[in-house]
């Protein structure tokens, strides 16, 4: 099972790419998925407190479940307008 991770702005620059796929064995809560992401990309660790998650284009909480085929975005503080 795979999940697509999307990175934007400062997070995209910290990792050096705008996304990647990550393998999961079963549906997992977003916050647990994030631990797995940080293990693979330690550069993201320091941004943890400023990240909001979105799953398939909707803002999500850390408890929301992520399953095969989902797109999870790591949203740093926003500055549109």
């Amino acid at each position: 099972m795979a999940v697509t991770i999307r990175l934007f702005a400062i997070l995209r620059e910290a990792v050096g790419k705008d996304g990647f796929d990550i393998h999961i064995d079963e549906p997992v809560p977003v916050e647990r998925l994030f631990e797995q992401i940080v293990a693979e990309h330690p550069a993201l660790e320091r941004y943890k407190s400023m990240i909001t998650f979105a799953v398939n284009g909707d803002y999500a909480t850390g408890q929301d479940l992520v399953k095969d085929g989902d797109e999870v975005a790591l949203i740093p503080p926003i500055s549109g307008g």
Partner: protein, 148 residues
């Protein structure tokens, strides 16, 4: 209507969208790139967005505004890419029967857009470029979502 675009925002087209014989007032907010920020000179701005989600957030915001005010017409467009000083990054136009409703609805729309739209801007100054310090998205559930 809502849109995320990389092209210059067409104000004439947006105003044409506001045509409505029932509307006595049209309020338009134009957000533009300013030549200074926190005492530093800004020479241009680059906007990045999570496009599919940004469209979705704008559409949800349009629905929310329509539930709260008797809006005849509403248009919200945000631009992405590199913008020069004075260019419009965001335009919101609202047409209502009465001006007070149009002012309130437009003010709410731009305030919520800034709290929820997944868009980021990078400021280019004489001494380099940096991401503008943003805000954590202020996500509140609409009644529709709560009832689902």
């Amino acid at each position: 209507m809502v849109d995320i675009t990389r092209d210059k925002i067409d104000l004439d087209r947006l105003l044409a969208e506001m045509e409505s014989p029932e509307s006595g007032g049209v309020v338009v907010f134009i957000g533009r790139v300013r030549n200074h920020a926190q005492g530093r000179e800004v020479i241009r701005m680059e906007y990045e967005g999570y496009e599919p989600m940004a469209r979705r957030v704008l559409q949800q915001l349009e629905n929310e505004v329509r539930e709260r005010w008797p809006v005849e017409k509403i248009a919200m467009v945000h631009r992405l890419g590199i913008l020069e000083i004075g260019e419009a990054s965001v335009v919101i136009a609202v047409a209502c029967a009465h001006r007070a409703q149009a002012f309130e609805a437009c003010r709410y729309a731009i305030d919520r857009l800034k709290e929820t739209l997944p868009v980021w801007k990078k400021e280019f100054g004489l001494d380099g470029a940096s991401w503008v310090e943003g805000v954590m998205p202020n996500v509140h559930q609409s009644e529709e979502e709560t009832n689902r």
